[in-house]
Subunit: 447 residues, 2 copies
């Protein structure tokens, strides 16, 4: 029977090459596609591994990050120097900079991820069918997860660790401004992963810093199972538009706070200021406040004073302008552009609406689908508002800033999805998995 | 305060126009985009409705189908006549044909869908966070579901009913060969839905039969929430490649049966013949059989006899050819193309593999990710096979034909997903929903 090996060689393609549905590597393939193909092979080796093997590799990663902090910080210094030459802002340089302490806290984050429950193998649904077939729907890794991200090098380790924890291979395309840092970090990660007996190709940095490499990653359908862009709106829109690989859209947050006629005004002021000003640069910060006309005359003066005290500039409609004039707080006249704007700064758009339904209409017209909040004492108003929103999260008498995987108790977050398919809202480890149906019988056939 | 209405008119856009994130309709917009925009408005009205309202509309649909069967059958006759003129095969004409009896059974299917549990509002995850915030992840409708499908007009009613049951608006693009039937059916559906007080635009047929109308539907991003193509491989690949709207890939099934060394041979023959021949034209029928070399000499002759008796032609490797010669059953020499083929006919590709891992490698190399089966008495072999597959369903000692929403007990099926994101395997009503996080507090702010 071993002669069978010769009769149809194609079926004996070694497993290491056989993983790619689009077949073995072809000559002259680009470095990005070759990396994706290696990732696919690694993913096939990762999938059947038990939690203990994945956790051991992650602990080795954490130890290696601390042991090799020196070379990581040295590589990072090259990026920082380049950023200085390019006149990058102090804030951006601070986000880019790695120190021994920051590397240690990144390692601590990895150890935290080790401690999280294993999403792989969870039985999502199970039953014994009337004919005796045993049906189980089980969580399995997605396979190859591509990440395209900007900014801080800690995302490189965070994304790789979350992918490994969930049994996925990570293909990382970070910012070119952090290329030296990311190259050093990924070298440390790969050595640690290989040292723990897992395939080093489970973690790869996309070769090169060209735009072309991003495009190749976005079109590696059949090799990359999902792409997760993390960064500004333009990056995300580019990926969503051009990718033929399935994408999980993240992050853009034009979040709204609606202050209902029945709101507790102290609570409304607190929630508004916290939603806008506690950390204006993040996607779950509020960008527009809508106020019911019935309480505008009482609420606007207090809101304007509190927002001014928090250093927030209001871009308001006619009512807000009048109220601003009344209390001596300057209000920038709002244009339609303000309703669409994700400021990510100490600015907020502000309007008065005649009723709750007008607030609903405004939000549905302009939202990016991230998070909306209502402040109200009226249970029916809360119910009506919640049932008419079309966003990943709706807050009732709570700050928009709570939309976060950590604050939701997921233990980790790979991003916040603003799309409706697969994952919506904060994405934890479970959102990095797919499922498969395992059906066990005893010779069952259909009639 | 009503003067506020003038100060920023944009925010007072009526709700009916405000639903489309891309804004109100623009002059000269195509009929398809206008239909999508109306669907979006209808979806916003459907979302908050309770189950009773949706079920009442579906019961009205079932009654109307029976009451107006005459005009449906008359319209269908036009399609059938056109098909005859075009020399369509008798089998295709049979699939296209509607009779009073078939319309009655379609109505019965709608009543069955009414009886299914409501997926909308199900709390998928819920907890009270340490700070007292109440977190609930709740199923909500996707919004606007676009269906592009071939063949039988009953799919038009089935898809519309499943969308309505799950609170979605349905935008239907059926086969041009069934355009008269679909036009009549959708007219009946819309009248019944409107008569029950729901928006008629919750069910729409995409205007026209041009390829252009399909392209417009595929690129209506922001108006259509998901596209589900149902039909042949070429249709599905076109949609997957060209759509900027999120797609749920369905149906293509290059399914495998692997007969392990330890298999019960009687069981293996039964499962193989059932998987291939019970209904060869469907996506969960087997297209390739792989046999462990250790039992090939005992299994191949029996399998060849049973497959021949079932009218199946074997496209086999060298071992199968030899075995065929031995028992006088002709075997067509297999080429690499056979490993990739979804025959959907009385044909099967067949190979002998040296061991289970070679079977795994072959399947991962060639599968479309639908369903694979192993026949074995060895629990470790079953476990190893299951953990190394990358498909929507894996059968252990059961026919591949069981991968079906009805047989899985889902009560309904909109299709079988072969992708990993959002839905994998048979899709029931839950797969036509997204989720949203509702977070209820008492003035909670973040520190």
């Amino acid at each position: 029977m071993s002669s069978s090996a010769d009769s149809a060689p194609s079926r004996l393609t070694p497993a290491t090459e056989a993983q790619a549905p689009s077949g073995p590597a072809t000559a002259g393939e680009s470095p990005v596609l070759l990396a994706a193909r290696r990732a696919r092979t690694a993913a096939a080796e990762l999938a059947p591994l038990p939690r203990t093997a994945r956790d051991a590799a992650l602990l080795a990663v954490a130890d290696a990050l601390e042991a090799r902090a020196e070379e990581i910080v040295a590589a990072n210094a090259e990026d920082v120097a380049r950023a200085r030459e390019n006149g990058t802002s102090a804030a951006m340089i601070d986000r880019l900079t790695l120190t021994r302490e920051r590397v240690a806290s990144i390692a601590a984050d990895v150890r935290h991820i080790v401690s999280l429950p294993d999403p792989v193998g969870e039985v999502v649904r199970g039953s014994t069918l009337p004919n005796g077939l045993e049906l189980r729907q089980i969580r399995v890794p997605l396979g190859v997860v591509g990440m395209i991200y900007e900014g801080r090098p800690n995302v490189t380790v965070d994304a790789a660790a979350l992918c490994l924890k969930s049994g996925n291979a990570a293909l990382l395309r970070g910012s070119s401004s952090a290329y030296s840092s990311n190259t050093a970090l990924v070298a440390v990660l790969r050595d640690a992963v290989a040292g723990a007996g897992l395939p080093a190709d489970a973690v790869q940095l996309v070769p090169g810093t060209s735009r072309e490499s991003v495009h190749e990653l976005m079109t590696a359908r059949g090799l990359v199972d999902v792409l997760i862009p993390r960064g500004g709106a333009s990056l995300i829109q580019t990926v969503v538009r051009d990718s033929t690989v399935p994408v999980i859209e993240t992050g853009v947050g034009n979040c709204h706070v609606y202050v209902d006629e029945s709101a507790d005004l102290d609570m409304a002021v607190d929630i508004l200021v916290n939603s806008k000003a506690q950390r204006p640069s993040v996607c779950n910060a509020a960008e527009t406040v809508l106020v019911h006309a019935g309480i505008a005359d009482r609420f606007l003066p207090r809101a304007l004073a509190a927002l001014a005290a928090a250093g927030v500039t209001v871009h308001g409609d006619g009512d807000w302008e009048k109220a601003g004039a009344g209390v001596g707080v300057p209000v920038v006249p709002a244009t339609e552009a303000d309703w669409a704007e994700e400021y990510l700064s100490d600015d907020i758009a502000a309007a008065v609406v005649p009723d709750l339904d007008a607030a609903v209409a405004h939000i549905r017209r302009w939202t990016s689908g991230h998070t909306e909040a209502i402040v109200t004492r009226d249970a029916q108003a809360a119910r009506r508002f919640v049932s008419r929103m079309d966003s990943a999260a709706v807050m009732v008498n709570a700050s928009t800033r709570f939309t976060d995987g950590g604050r939701f108790g997921f233990g980790a977050e790979i991003g916040i999805s603003t799309q409706k398919l697969h994952a919506r809202g904060p994405m934890g480890l479970a959102e990095l998995t797919s499922t498969t149906y395992v059906v066990t019988g005893d010779g069952h056939t259909v009639e």
